[in-house]
Subunit: 225 residues, 2 copies
């Protein structure tokens, strides 16, 4: 069985996360690395979405992935095996989120061997509450809400929706089996964040993945100019 590098993340010592996040953002800009912070509830399909999207983009831009998880290594391994792009696992040791300093620990572990990706995706801990409260230093924030979770989630987890530039609505292939109203969901998201883009997708069937890949490619291209 394949193996991936695992980094045990330590608790941050920095008191001022905002300042630290801004510093990391500047540093990444200097190095031409776009950092996407991808968040969601557990089981919304982050890893499957990433696999499909990376396979569409990996011949056009250099991509690397950091998979944050409390304990297991399955996600980093899956990314590595299914896409071939560099992927490492960050163990948070029970911690429910990553802040900028913890993200930096991951980046330090990732960016060895002269690796210079255009895009690093940070798959954050599956949690709609805590990760929204901590700026990771990312260039952009995206989240996945999946159809089975319900169209009312923007009402219940307001901060998460308000900090994201993009909301992917995943598992639209099972919409017929759930009481999920896409228009109501979009309105709920708009109420929390009028500027958020919304892209409905099915990571399973591939529907909408091109739209997400294009959004990402445009963002990275504009950033590197």
């Amino acid at each position: 069985m394949d193996e991936v590098k695992v980094i045990e993340i330590k608790k941050s010592v920095f008191a001022d996360n905002e300042k630290d996040a801004d510093a990391l953002r500047l540093e990444l800009k200097d190095r031409g690395v776009f950092l996407l912070n991808l968040m969601s509830a557990p089981g919304s399909g982050k890893t499957t979405t990433l696999v499909k999207t990376i396979n569409r983009l990996k011949d056009r831009i250099r991509i690397a992935v950091m998979e944050a998880d409390i304990d297991s290594d399955v996600d980093a391994l899956r990314i590595k095996e299914a896409t071939g792009v560099p992927s490492i696992q960050l163990h948070t040791g029970g911690m429910c989120h990553l802040d900028a300093e913890m993200t930096r620990q991951g980046l330090d572990g990732l960016m060895t061997d002269h690796l210079s990706p255009d895009l690093v995706v940070l798959e954050n801990v599956g949690n709609l509450v805590c990760p929204a409260e901590f700026d990771t230093g990312s260039t952009a924030n995206a989240m996945i809400l999946s159809v089975p979770e319900g169209d009312d989630k923007p009402l219940k987890y307001p901060l998460m929706f308000s900090v994201c530039d993009l909301v992917l609505i995943n598992k639209i292939d099972v919409m017929p089996y759930f009481d999920f109203d896409m228009e109501r969901c979009k309105q709920n998201i708009k109420m929390r964040n009028p500027n958020a883009q919304v892209i409905p997708i099915s990571a399973k069937t591939g529907e909408g993945i091109d739209a997400f890949a294009n959004w990402l490619l445009n963002m990275v291209t504009a950033y590197k100019k």
Copy 2:
């Protein structure tokens, strides 16, 4: 439109949550109140499950509900309207979990007017990480894992599964549309917690709700003896 009592929960001042939780548990035992702490990821179906279960039990035992949410009041209102049992909303003000002192604040708000329930259900914040770390003083812990979240969740959120006496596997009506293996899921749960009981349910169709209601009734009856 109906209204429910809303309590703005304040951050705890107690340093020793374990001790405080044990004290609350003793106090509840003295008063004959069974406190069930119900946890899950966002959108797994806690409120729908509660509505169905309470309607099966409310003529046999006195039930009251505390709905913890970051911001909205929709859950407490839904419980009140759909079941008629006393229900209050706890606003955590962004906090990702409840500890024993916060639970006590909720109970103090709930147990006015000579209300003396046999069973209080605390619907915790939708989060598989943080609520598992804080003993609320509950008599028992239960969680819901829903089929769309995947059968691998016990591997990724080990602590949550290890602190629960009961795991409900919800949304079994949509199993044909997801790659979810019930046996593998049960094995994963057993690995984390050999003593956890597992009950597959569909809050939508009602399947398995009788089994959960019976489990709850047996627990409350044994506790009050």
